[in-house]
């Protein structure tokens, strides 16, 4: 009761005055543009459905009753449940320690705890396996994925803790609530939305992951689909499994929505700073736990890269190819980032500035693409190209299109977060001063949004640069990115040759990851 009452009080007080004010209907050009964007983005979804339906009911029933399917289902579901739960626990715990206690080395930890995001999961997986071949199966998958993905929970929860009003905690304390009660009834509810958003990202990653599970010899839907497709003997079965996988993604999205992942929370950052909890004699234990977390999530993968770099220096390094692959990856990433960010802007403007049932539906359908794993996007884009856009097959443009579809939601989240911080009143004022809708956008909104757009582009390019699954499926023959080269060498257990590619991926990714920590996304 107490927590709820004070929370709603805080919510009302911090409500931004004019942010949600209803407005004139959206300009027709904007609505039409967003409809077109949503239609293009939803093409792969349509493709998955069409392909699966074309299998026919009898064959579908037969394929889905194969003993393989229950095993894949069991693996995927149990792993997703286990990893999201452990990520939530680690993410919230670490965020609370860093943001709300007097733990030493907090500024350093705030960076170290996010850096694992710069290590692609399949690189982390290969790192563990290369040092400890026994890390595999369910346990190995749980270990690698938990320590690679927990920052997706940590980041938004830490941001929510920074933003939430510390007075809530003070009030609870003045009303006699002890530390545990305050954590459970004040702190936890205030970060619930952020935590749910973070676990959703983790869940979607797990559904989509191919590389790590292939290395760890753990079979999920994504690995089965990929194998069936690349071995080429059963396209029908692959498309059917893809549909099941996509449905699981939609289920996750719906679950997060039903649990209140979209509840509004105070937008404004509280001006007061929290009184930190004194850890006292618990300090060494807390520090030790954080150190273990950093070692497991960052130390092992980075250490393994360093180890193989040194060990592998005896072998001849294909250094020219490292530079070529780096340039190729960065160019591809930058192209995808530019297009995805440019497409995200109108969608964000429509949904934030002209809320209506139509604009909400359009925005949500854009998020639906998030449920599509790289495997599914790759496969459908390939099949659309083969059947309808033959000249595009095996072209860089097709690969870029795949990236854009795959990472559009990420760009949208970042652009939306930035746009929400630009008061709509500024645009109103510009219009009253004689600017058209577009003029106000150009002269006021976009200049103020530039840092946000840059961050969005950085996020997309990070993800595209290290994307493995879709790249393997979509790249034209001869195009080698950092991820595909790394994959090629590790598949042949040539860890020494693979290490430089991993090192470059981690270093280039560290920059956008650093940006991400600065942005403090409310939800990812």
């Amino acid at each position: 009761m107490l927590a709820r009452a004070t929370l709603t009080g805080g919510r009302a007080a911090a409500r931004p005055a004019a942010a949600a004010a209803p407005r004139r209907p959206a300009p027709r050009a904007l609505t039409l543009g967003v409809v077109a964007i949503a239609a293009v983005l939803l093409l792969p979804v349509l493709g998955v459905v069409v392909q699966a339906v074309s299998v026919g009911p009898r064959r579908a029933a037969h394929l889905l009753s194969l003993p393989l399917v229950p095993e894949l289902l069991r693996n995927t579901v149990t792993l997703t449940a286990a990893v999201t739960a452990s990520c939530a626990a680690i993410g919230v715990g670490a965020a609370w320690l860093v943001e709300r206690t007097d733990l030493p080395l907090r500024p350093l930890l705030a960076v170290l705890l996010v850096l694992p995001l710069a290590v692609p999961e399949f690189v982390a997986g290969s790192g563990w396996v290369s040092l400890m071949p026994r890390v595999q199966g369910f346990g190995g998958a749980w270990l690698v994925m938990t320590f690679s993905l927990y920052p997706w929970v940590y980041l938004p929860v830490a941001a929510a803790l920074r933003r939430s009003d510390p007075a809530l905690d003070d009030v609870a304390r003045s009303l006699g609530a002890g530390p545990l009660r305050r954590f459970l009834r004040v702190t936890l509810p205030s970060v619930r939305t952020a935590m749910l958003g973070g676990t959703l990202v983790v869940g979607l990653y797990l559904l989509a992951e191919y590389g790590t599970f292939a290395v760890l010899r753990f079979r999920t839907f994504a690995t089965a689909i990929f194998t069936q497709y690349t071995l080429g003997f059963d396209a029908a079965s692959a498309s059917l499994l893809t549909l099941v996988l996509c449905l699981m993604g939609v289920l996750l999205l719906g679950g997060e929505y039903a649990l209140g992942g979209r509840t509004r929370h105070p937008g404004a950052r509280a001006a007061r700073t929290a009184t930190r909890v004194r850890l006292g004699r618990a300090t060494p234990a807390a520090l030790l736990a954080m150190a273990a977390l950093v070692v497991l999530s960052l130390g092992v993968p980075v250490g393994s890269i360093a180890y193989w770099m040194i060990r592998g220096s005896s072998t001849t390094l294909p250094s020219g190819s490292v530079v070529g692959a780096t340039v190729e990856s960065l160019l591809l990433g930058a192209g995808a980032a530019a297009v995805a960010t440019a497409l995200a802007l109108p969608v964000a403007v429509l949904s934030l500035r002209h809320p209506s049932p139509l604009s909400n539906t359009l925005e949500r359908s854009a998020y639906l693409v998030r449920a599509l794993p790289g495997v599914a996007v790759g496969l459908t884009v390939v099949s659309v190209a083969v059947h309808h856009l033959r000249p595009l097959y095996q072209s860089t443009a097709l690969l870029e299109a795949g990236y854009v579809v795959l990472f559009f939601p990420l760009g949208l989240v970042a652009v939306r977060a930035a746009l929400a911080r630009v008061p709509a009143e500024l645009e109103d004022t510009a219009r009253s001063l004689g600017e058209s809708w577009f003029g106000a956008l150009r002269r006021v909104t976009v200049p103020l949004l530039l840092p946000g757009l840059a961050a969005a582009a950085a996020l997309v390019s990070l993800s595209a640069t290290t994307e493995l699954t879709a790249t393997l499926l979509l790249r034209p023959t001869g195009v080698e990115t950092l991820a595909t080269q790394f994959w090629l060498y590790t598949s042949n257990l040539a860890y020494g040759a693979a290490a430089p590619y991993a090192a470059v991926m981690v270093l280039t990714s560290a920059v956008p990851v650093f940006l991400l920590t600065r942005m403090g996304l409310a939800r990812s």
């Binding site: 509004r264 109103d428 219009r431 004689g434």
Partner: protein, 384 residues
């Protein structure tokens, strides 16, 4: 441009805030060059009215005319950028990425390609007008809240608008600054001769600034007129209590006088209620208090609130039906302690409003009207 062409006329305006109907037939007339204050409690629809006038929200029904142009008739509407309106939002809403000169000149550069020199001269002139000459190169974050409001006004006036809309422009400022800026804004608007509509919930602000005060409640204008008329001749009990402080005294009107528990008091001859039960409006300044007990009525001081230049007294006046609560105001010097016996005189004639509810409402004593109507609450929720 003659004053008549710049008049604002709003007729039967209906509008919704999201899905919630907020305005239910607003009528408002402001003469060219006049300053109207739209006064209402939060959630009454005054901000919605302003947004419809500016063109940020469509009117559902009704008509808005600025000068000779109908800008919205519920079907066809002019875009905000074509309406020639100056808009001063709450807290100024400076463009944070532009200098003061960039802010003030924002509308100028968009229109007809004025020469740069000419634009700079105009910006300087406007900044001079609002008392901020020489601040062209400053950035908004370097200005205080009051200065930002001045720049926002200069920016709104830059394109020589037909109408200026001000949305609670002084609400974020401290009391002393507010009074000064209020006077300055009034002078500036007068000097430029522009028609203006200011929205506020502060009755002192409305009474001191406006040529016309329009009291809005539940999406309707319940009374509009000169400040003195709205204060002195309120249309109903709620207006009487909202605009200034008042004690509402149950009374019966007969023969040009009010018969109350305080005796017979002369009725304002202009009063439209001329017989039967009514409520007499007793303003604090109409209750004359004499310490010591001389006067036609006797009572004692229940509580006293010292205000520097005088005191606000809650009195309990003896009547044949027990003690009656009245609010009075004394001017400096006379110290009255709680519990002291005082003589009380009512300085008629009094105004009366329809109604006969003698129910005691604790809120009414403070002069504030609790606004719990469902539309207001719903509008609040819709904004969440």
């Amino acid at each position: 441009m003659s004053a008549a062409t710049r008049a604002l006329e709003v007729e039967g305006l209906h509008a919704s805030y999201g899905a919630t109907p907020v305005l239910h037939g607003v009528d408002l007339r402001v003469r060219g060059g006049g300053l109207a204050c739209v006064l209402g409690a939060s959630g009454c629809g005054k901000t919605t009215l302003l947004r419809v006038l500016a063109g940020f929200l469509p009117a559902g029904r009704g008509r808005v005319r600025i000068g000779a142009t109908v800008v919205d008739d519920g079907r066809r509407r002019m875009r905000p950028e074509q309406r020639r309106i100056g808009y001063v939002p709450q807290e100024g809403a400076m463009f944070p990425h532009l200098s003061v000169a960039g802010n003030v000149g924002f509308g100028l550069s968009g229109r007809g390609g004025r020469r740069r020199r000419e634009r700079e001269a105009r910006v300087a002139e406007l900044l001079e007008l609002v008392g901020l000459g020489g601040t062209e190169r400053c950035h908004p974050h370097q200005l205080s809240g009051g200065q930002q409001q001045r720049v926002a006004l200069a920016r709104a006036l830059a394109c020589e608008p037909e109408l200026v809309l001000l949305d609670e422009p002084f609400s974020s400022l401290d009391a002393a600054l507010r009074a000064r800026l209020r006077a300055d804004v009034r002078a500036i608007l007068r000097a430029t001769g522009v028609t203006a509509v200011l929205v506020t919930h502060d009755q002192t602000e409305a009474l001191s600034l406006a040529d016309t005060v329009a009291v809005i409640r539940d999406g309707r204008v319940v009374q509009s007129g000169e400040p003195a008329a709205v204060y002195g001749r309120p249309a109903d009990a709620a207006v009487a209590e909202f605009v200034g402080e008042a004690t509402l005294l149950p009374a019966t009107i007969a023969g040009g006088a009010l018969h109350t528990t305080l005796g017979r008091i002369v009725l304002d001859p202009a009063c439209t209620v001329d017989s039967g039960p009514a409520l007499a409006v007793v303003r604090p300044e109409q209750v004359l208090v004499t310490p010591g007990g001389a006067g036609t009525l006797r009572g004692r001081v229940a509580s006293s609130e010292y205000q520097g230049n005088g005191a606000r007294l809650e009195l309990l006046v003896d009547t044949e039906r027990g003690a009656l609560a009245l609010t009075a105001r004394t001017r400096g010097g006379v110290a009255v302690e709680p519990g002291a016996a005082v003589g009380v005189e009512i300085d008629g004639p009094l105004w009366a409003v329809p109604g006969q509810a003698p129910t005691y409402r604790p809120e009414a004593v403070n002069g504030s009207v609790p606004n719990t109507s469902s539309t207001a609450v719903k509008a609040e929720c819709a904004r969440m």
